[in-house]
């Protein structure tokens, strides 16, 4: 079958569209399909990001554009550049960022490394969490000697966190 558009190349892309219950079929060669944008492969990143945001269901953008007080960026800037202007944008646009992060990473909560300076309590909390997981592991392996050691480590960390909290 020849491409319906150029009538030269062999059609290798077959597009079936159903719009309002009306079905159309188009047969195109790869070249024409790409040109007509019928090829699913030419996704560009800005559009992809834009589609990951919640737009209002009636098309228009929501309310007046918010601006980051530190760098002056707006969400529109982000949609164009795929980058935020500064780290404060994450605070300014928190409501927009959270769903985006969940879609990108499947989560919006950091579980990894924490800077030692200024985040001692959080760092201890992470450590305790990790140790508890290992404790469970050791118990299920019936390695009670190691489990007891880990339990003591957890207690020490908790006592320390408690003292610092006072």
């Amino acid at each position: 079958m020849l491409c319906e558009k150029c009538q030269k190349e062999e059609a290798s892309v077959h597009v079936t569209k159903i719009v309002n219950g009306h079905k159309t079929e188009t047969h195109l060669c790869q070249h024409c399909a790409k040109e007509l944008g019928e090829f699913g492969l030419s996704i560009d990143l800005p559009n992809l990001f834009a589609s990951l945001f919640d737009y209002s269901p009636f098309g228009g953008k929501l309310a007046a554009p918010k601006q980051c007080p530190t760098c002056g960026s707006t969400m529109e800037d982000f949609r164009q550049l795929n980058q935020f202007g500064c780290s404060d944008c994450y605070v300014t646009f928190r409501d927009e960022v959270e769903p985006l992060l969940r879609r990108l990473h499947g989560s919006s909560h950091h579980e990894g490394k924490v800077p030692a300076q200024g985040y001692a309590a959080l760092s201890a909390e992470r450590q305790v969490k990790m140790l508890r997981e290992r404790l469970q592991q050791m118990i299920s392996l019936e390695n009670y000697e190691e489990a007891a050691k880990i339990r003591d480590q957890i207690r020490a960390l908790e006592r320390q966190a408690h003292r610092e909290g006072e």
Binding site: T70, Q83, G85, V91, L104, S108, H110, K113, P115, Q117
Partner: protein, 343 residues
């Protein structure tokens, strides 16, 4: 990759050519590089330069301002993966901290203020993470990082938020390619939430059956969990490649040996060769060495050639820029020279 990458083999080194860990970090209260004004960018550079002293406790490092590094040298750094393509193009207010044996590189004012990279030969995700973590700790003692208790390290692009970490392994998969199983394997890798790329990162095609596999997400799991996941999948791919190699030897021996000897023949006799063709042939020759078919060749030399034949490396060797046709001649003669000295 780095010097250590080409010099040593490392664990699983017959298939895993190298491991890289990258951490994206930014300074609190300073706009990201794309938005920062000149003053702010200079302030970040100055911070970067000051880091050298404390980093020297860990490894012997030097600071470079990219505007002062000539273009060819920048290209060479890029071909070794020590800096990104972006970092070679616009050079104003961009910096680089590089360790002497090239296992640590820190790009200053790339997409983020600091991009810490660690390179190790073979499959060594855990060791690479430990080294990157130590570098990060040393930097952190001197600067205030942009960090949010809920969403972690803050980066210019939200795809890197959280740990700011990307771990990648570079795998040589010629046997899977030969038995047409590569696509299957790589497709299943991507179903595990990992990304597959060619040799030079984002969007680059593969040369010489070399692929990078890396974690796609950076948030929601600890660094160790993400790297364990990556490591498990890498081990799976490596074991598929081993099976494919065995299959080639058992089921397809004559044809396989023919192709390997032909590749060697072309490399030792060609007068004009593109980097693409050379990479593909060197990959085949390396497979021949790994399978014990080409016995007298030094594997390290072939691995080193895979880097040396790249455009900027060749031009640096000649001390001048050369048109593509000249490079193709020079490349062919370099390969002939290196391989013939072997016998």
């Amino acid at each position: 990759m780095s010097k250590s990458w080409t010099k040593e083999e490392g664990p699983q080194g017959d298939i895993c050519l190298g491991t890289r860990i990258r951490l994206a970090r930014n300074l609190a209260k300073v706009p990201f590089p794309a938005t920062a004004n000149r003053e702010q960018a200079k302030q970040v550079l100055k911070k970067g330069k000051e880091l050298v002293e404390s980093l020297n406790h860990l490894a012997s490092v030097k600071y470079y301002e990219l505007a002062e590094v000539d273009e060819l040298e920048r290209q060479v750094l890029m071909e070794k993966h020590l800096i990104s393509p972006e970092h070679t193009k616009k050079t104003s207010n961009k910096g680089l901290i590089l360790s002497e044996n090239e296992d640590i590189s820190i790009m200053v004012n790339e997409e983020d203020h600091f991009r810490i990279q660690v390179f190790l030969p073979g499959l060594q995700l855990k060791a690479a993470w430990e080294l990157a973590n130590r570098v990060d700790n040393l930097i952190e003692a001197n600067v205030d990082y942009a960090f949010d208790p809920d969403i972690g390290y803050l980066t210019a692009c939200p795809t890197n938020v959280g740990t700011g970490m990307r771990g990648s392994v570079m795998l040589h998969l010629p046997a899977l390619a030969r038995i047409n199983q590569l696509e299957n394997v790589l497709r299943s890798v991507s179903q595990f939430g990992l990304a597959v790329r060619g040799l030079y990162g984002e969007g680059s095609e593969s040369y010489g059956s070399i692929y990078q596999i890396s974690n796609q997400i950076s948030l929601g799991h600890s660094e160790t969990e993400m790297l364990e996941h990556l490591s498990r999948v890498a081990h799976q791919v490596i074991s598929s490649e081993r099976q494919a190699r065995q299959y080639l030897q058992e089921q397809n021996r004559d044809e396989n040996e023919d192709q390997i000897h032909r590749a060697y023949g072309l490399l030792t006799h060609a007068r004009i060769i593109s980097s693409r063709e050379a990479m593909d042939l060197l990959s085949t020759v390396m497979l021949g060495i790994d399978l014990g078919i080409l016995r007298d060749l030094d594997r390290g030399l072939v691995k080193k050639l895979m880097v040396e034949i790249r455009a900027a490396h060749l031009q640096k060797m000649m001390g001048q820029s050369l048109p593509a046709q000249e490079r193709d001649r020079l490349r062919a003669s370099l390969i002939r020279d290196r391989l013939s000295r072997q016998i």
